[in-house]
Subunit: 848 residues, 2 copies
């Protein structure tokens, strides 16, 4: 694992240095004196020289991290602000249409329903056509990418455009959708594009190890500029995308997210939306007595209920997706008309929120932003005593219904929005679920808060001062708790502080978020992990809360013992067999079948390349030619030389492209290239198939070669191939990873999990004193963890099973293996007595 | 690396399971029916049965993480609160004495000076006697421990007591010392003691991999309950102690720190100090317009100046320590009277702060807490216009001097406190530097704020409303920036929000903290890293900001090529030689000197044990006895059996203690045990020395053995030992790590650094296709990083040096190595043709 990629890195560094030197050597240096001369002849020559030097200085600075981070923050702030502006305009337009048509309810309804349907349908269609990868949240994909897996087309300009426009339309429709998840994706794409753009000025951005670091920072920027919450953004992005976080990269996230949030808010000030930089959803709770100690149980109840609610949301969301996929008849119909499902869902949801209709019971006319503003409101809505009637002013009016009270409105709102959000987030448009969940949580918190206020009209505190209960504080707690439960994060607490600009409720928020997380994590995976599983992306499940039993499960319990390997002294026939019998992407290379000493690992593609070059027509033709030459001896020598050259090129070819490719990221897994699948698929007629494969891959044989090739009949070819297969493999042209990751049999599952997630491995070999005994891949590990969590699926060692082999016997087993090795050596040679490198003697001399 | 410890883990799991089964099998199960019977005869039998079951349930729950974390949080909150109470009482007493003696200035001065001197001297003496490990902050040590290094006596009860009492006295003296760092240490000790205590109920706490996770959580608790800042605590502890952080452990820190902060603040409410739970240093800045956009440059200036100030503080602190160590004459004098230095420093500082003396110019009468409260004050101190005279009320009066203005007081305060804090934190008492630095930063911020307020008396904003400048906000920004610069953390921003209970200044604080970090990190290491270097603890420097060149330095540039190794077929004499010639703690075990295939690594202690068991008197006696037996043949057989048993025990003994010890943490480095040093020290007279060594270690030889031993003369013994040394080594009893960590020559320095810090390695072998070619230890890596940072000390590959070997030649080198191996194999044997496991033939048959 390490050997391979680090070699790439080394190669890359060299290539890069070469390129730089070439550039420096070729273009600027020789030109510089002439330029200077030319300019000094002009009038403002010093100016120009200065400008030139500045330019050069700037270009040299482009490689610095902070320049990149500032640019990223700036671009993302502009994108975020522009999108917010566009979304607000869209929503304004809907309100205007709805308001202008108040003479006719039917027309009003048509306008209310058609507008979002059109927008969502456009968004779905546009995304579908331009880049289907832009659909959905993007956080699951980013988590996978940051684990080192390459997802194609996820970080391209096309996807960027599709996501930005699709998201703007989707959010402009007023559906219960969020922008946080997509923003993480947008920021990552922005970082990828920016680094590709900046690499025009210098080579630093071609290093993908660095780009991964920048992607992690970009995720923080995404959240940060979406909510103007730099700290919460960094923490949230760490929690949802990383397993192990390098503290070294911490400042990058903070730097970029702070800059981005700053610009985002400054734009609002310049646009005269705000007087100065403040929080997005500023609250004005009293500072001196934010909450009473005796209110804490209510906050804890919010936390626990949010935990259940969050788990239910994830469950519901997954079930809806699975239902849509399973129902063949619905599915086939919807698949044909891909845009029907989004339109249908939008129609239902917007019909239900139609303000003169059912919407009047659930504050349907409020946009998501207005809803949040009202929910975080400082006043108490419920009647406090008989005379104390509260007046609903401005947008607060939406929560007031003449024929019911605010509790009913809130309950209806929560119930309706809950399933609507779960359903809406399954629409194939770019959308996130964070914000809808956040709003539902706020409404739930408000409900509890209003209930408390109605229960204790003069507050709980019985001392001199009367401190009334602040239901807005409950809304803040509820929002943090429910969004924390759905995403399995604690940092939503920080996000609400930054969103509201008040941190006075820190303890209630923290308590509720932690309780919500505890409940939700024990019931369901997080929303993002759930999507990862639905989308079947590679993942490694977490080791839940109480994982004592993980210390007792060991690698030997889960490893695959029956593995196929390549020996150093094998024949091409063996390679062929191995390729047919296994689908492993990395084959272990051992010294010999008896010693089983692991020397390294070789990629499947490399084995395929070795085999195909051995059986290549060129080699065959060369052999034939040589035979012909030795028989006839009247060919020209230059032709022979040309042949040899072409042969060398072709036999070296399979190894070269890997070297020439731009650097792989350190922990990237190369997707199986087409070169390795044919040998698997064509199991029975390998000889010819391989020939075909090679012909397709390599340069077209020249006319002369064709003529020569034609001289051999298929039978002859087969015979020749059989001969070739019996030759010993020459590994000199193959790329071997000399230090694949190794574990030993006694490594615990817990430790294995740590190592796999730390290093982003997808396989590791299990060795016992140098001898290969097994292999563990992500699949086995996943099975073992989930099996032991759910109690089925895989053989899991029961807590006391470690008894089955006592300490003594284990060490004995090790000892035996070691002894065998030792005995073998003793029998073989005594190197201190024999000369170094000389051939050694044996007990039973045999003639050869 | 992995093999060794995971084997420990396996062994541990088995032992643990065995212990559990034995417990279950022996004690509770047989007793249970009888207990039940007994209780059912009593009157409240069901109650008792129920209680018993509850008890059992509770004991089974003790192993859960959350129980541990709650207990830890509870204990630490109590400790923190009790200490705060004691410190406040101490300070109160000083104030009372000072106030009561206001008739005589001399007496007043004596009281003011004597009290802290006595307290500090007591603290220094007490700590010195009980546990010198308790001296200082503790964060550097915790960073080292969390890296996997075992520091002796740092987590014991004695140190805990010394630190708690010493810290209380030190802070009670009113010196400019902090409690944050020591609290991290106290919480860690608390966690270690708690887990040792809880392990009485079950075996879960003996797993040190888990204990390390708990220690990380404990660090968060330490900060959290010190400042009632759970979020900031978690982040700060991550930043100062970790290099790579497992997001999996994130919730632990939050959970424990939140609980701890909650209890800490609830205690204050119950003690009637507060009406409800609020922030520790609550501020009341206006929410609607916290700061103007045009004030941001001033905040940036605070950040940059704090960056320089922070670097200067670290530099000053280090220089003071180094000066004290270097000055031989002073040093010898102070070393003799260890308590003189603390007393002297305290005397100077308290004299200077004496309120009627110089202290009147620097608010000397205020305690640290009062100082902070006044600095964060909401009002503006400077005169605003001529008529607008501000009245200094209450403790604010300290800042007011009739003959000078507040700017002078602030400047004097900052300058004096700066060197005082740098000096005071070098006193050998338990103390931290965070709080003093925090206060200085706040004063600096206040100074800038007051200047701004004097410059713009009506605020900068020129629109309709007049918003005056809030100097308290500047103080908050300054505090965060300076403490961030000294500790190299960003999370001080979060700590100030939690401390003040207001987050409205988030952008200024973030900007200032990031700028301060950028400046400070480019000038000096953090205070904790500086202490780590002074104390010569093992560490790995960070890769600075712009570290492009790290991608070009490779392992082959920094590795040690000339390493000593053990071969599988070596003799004891070779072992002896290796032990004499190297001091490496881990020796590589290779197949043979020609093949150099790395099989594993063996600890130095193990090699020593092998050697000493081979040369043990028991073995010698046994040989002698057998000789005697064969000569005489009239001894009793049972005696012979006894001998054999004793021999087996002694030869097995070196391996056993390691197995019996409680589990080592996964990445722990075992300090060289005394067993391995004697062979190194006694290089020339090994035989006898080894005998002595062994006699000291093993059980005393019995009388009979002594008699037998006496029969051999020293010459005979030497001869026997020489014979023994010529035998081949039997590795069966040695503990071998079968999978040490391997790198390849092309691994970049950047990657090597990542791997070393991820896995907490201290050495790694460099292999090339299974062959050992070199070794990299922490030392080489450190040299390479620091060398390339400062441009001296180690050979660093210049940016373009990667040219020196082109891609082609590198792959060729690999190929050659592979070919050699391959050729060797071809010459040696053809396993597919020979029978499996059969001895193979050779080209040149030789007779034996």
């Amino acid at each position: 694992m390490y050997g391979r990629y680090t070699q790439d890195l080394g190669t890359f560094a060299k290539d890069e240095a070469a390129r730089l030197r070439l550039q420096e050597g070729d273009t600027p240096r020789p030109r510089r004196p002439s330029e200077l001369l030319e300019y000094t002849q002009g009038r403002c020559a010093p100016c120009r020289v200065c400008a030139l030097q500045c330019q050069r200085f700037l270009i040299s600075k482009v490689g610095e991290d902070w320049v990149f981070l500032i640019l990223l923050g700036l671009v993302m702030a502009l994108v975020s602000w522009a999108m917010d502006f566009a979304i607000a305009t869209c929503l304004q337009a809907q309100k205007w249409m709805y308001g202008g048509l108040d003479t006719n309810v039917l027309l009003q309804y048509m306008a209310w329903v058609t507008y979002p349907t059109v927008l969502i349908t456009f968004s779905a269609g546009f995304t579908q056509i331009l880049a289907p990868q832009a659909v959905g949240s993007g956080i699951p994909e980013m988590k996978t990418i940051l684990r080192g897996v390459v997802l194609k087309e996820y970080l391209t300009l096309k996807t960027f455009v599709a996501k930005v426009i699709g998201l703007t339309c989707a959010l402009g429709s007023g559906m219960p959708l969020g922008k946080e998840g997509p923003f993480v994706h947008i920021a990552s794409m922005c970082a990828a594009l920016l680094s590709r753009f900046l690499s025009l000025f210098g080579g630093f951005y071609e290093n993908e190890a660095r780009n991964i670091e920048m992607l992690a920072a970009a995720c923080a920027v995404g959240v940060g500029c979406c909510f103007a919450a730099p700290i919460g953004g960094v923490l949230f992005s760490i929690e949802v995308t990383s397993t192990f976080f390098a503290v070294r990269n911490y400042w990058r996230g903070f730097f970029a997210a702070t800059f981005s949030a700053f610009i985002f808010r400054v734009l609002a000030v310049w646009n005269k939306d705000e007087e100065t930089i403040t929080a997005l959803f500023k609250t004005r709770f009293r500072l001196d007595f934010p909450f009473d100690l005796q209110e804490l149980p209510a906050f804890a109840v919010i936390g626990i209920a949010s935990g259940f609610g969050g788990a239910l949301f994830v469950y519901l969301n997954r079930k809806i997706v699975q239902f849509m996929r399973r129902q063949k008849t619905i599915n086939r119909f919807l698949m044909k008309k891909r845009l029907l499902f989004p339109a249908l869902v939008t129609l239902i949801i917007s019909t239900l929120t139609f303000p003169p209709g059912f919407g009047q019971f659930m504050a349907g006319q409020l946009t998501q932003k207005d809803t949040l503003v009202t929910l975080f409101d400082n006043q108490t809505w419920a009647k406090q005593g008989i005379s104390d009637e509260f007046e609903y002013l401005g947008i607060l009016e939406a929560w007031h219904h003449p024929r019911s009270n605010v509790f009913v409105t809130l309950v209806v709102f929560i119930l309706m929005k809950f399933w609507m959000s779960a359903l809406a987030t399954t629409i194939p448009v770019p959308c996130g679920a964070f914000m809808p969940v956040f709003v539902i949580g706020a409404a739930f918190g408000r409900l509890v808060g209003e209930s408390m206020a109605a229960w204790f009209p003069d507050g709980i505190h019985t001392d001199s001062n009367i401190y009334r209960i602040v239901p807005g504080g409950y809304a803040v707690v509820g929002a943090a708790a429910l969004s924390g439960a759905v995403t399995h994060t604690v940092s939503t607490a920080v996000i609400v502080f930054e969103l509201t600009g008040q941190i006075s409720h820190i303890l209630p928020v923290m308590i509720a978020v932690i309780l919500a997380n505890a409940v939700a994590q024990s019931l369901q995976p997080s929303l993002y992990d759930s999507i990862i599983r639905i989308k079947k992306l590679p993942y490694l499940p977490e080791l839940g809360w109480g994982h004592h039993e993980k210390y007792n499960v060991r690698v030997e319990d889960i490893m695959v013992r029956d593995i196929h390997y390549v020996t150093l002294n094998c024949k091409y026939r063996d390679l062929q067999q191995v390729l047919h019998s296994t689908k492993m992407k990395n084959l272990p290379l051992v010294e010999s079948a008896e010693s089983m000493i692991l020397l390294g690992s070789i990629e499947r593609t490399q084995v395929g390349a070795l085999l195909s070059s051995q059986l290549s027509p060129q080699r065959r033709l060369l052999t034939l030619r040589q035979k012909v030459l030795s028989e006839d001896g009247h060919r020209l020598s230059d032709s022979s030389i040309r042949f040899q050259i072409s042969t060398e090129t072709s036999s070296g070819a399979p190894a070269r492209p890997a070297l020439r490719k731009p650097l792989k990221p350190a922990l990237k897994r190369v997707p199986s290239s087409p070169a390795d699948s044919p040998p698997v698929g064509s199991a029975d007629h390998t000889g010819i198939a391989l020939k075909n494969l090679f012909c397709a891959n390599a340069a077209e044989p020249t006319e002369e070669e064709m003529i020569l090739g034609d001289k051999m009949t298929p039978a002859e070819i087969l015979e020749w191939e059989e001969q070739q297969l019996d030759q010993l493999v020459d590994f000199s042209s193959a790329k071997i990873d000399p230090a694949p990751f190794q574990l030993v049999e006694h490594t615990s599952l817990h430790k294995t999990h740590t190592i796999f997630s730390l290093l982003g491995l997808d396989h590791a070999f299990v060795t016992s004193i140098g001898r290969l005994v097994g292999m563990v891949t992500l699949k086995e590990l996943r099975k073992a963890i989930e099996g032991s969590l759910t109690g089925k699926g895989v053989k899991v060692r029961p807590p006391l099973a470690s008894f089955r082999d006592s300490t003594a016997s284990t060490t004995e087993a090790d000892t035996t293996a070691l002894h065998q090795l030792w005995d073998r050596h003793q029998h073989h040679h005594m190197p201190r007595e024999a000369g170094p490198g000389g051939d050694d003697d044996d007990d039973t001399p045999k003639g050869q």
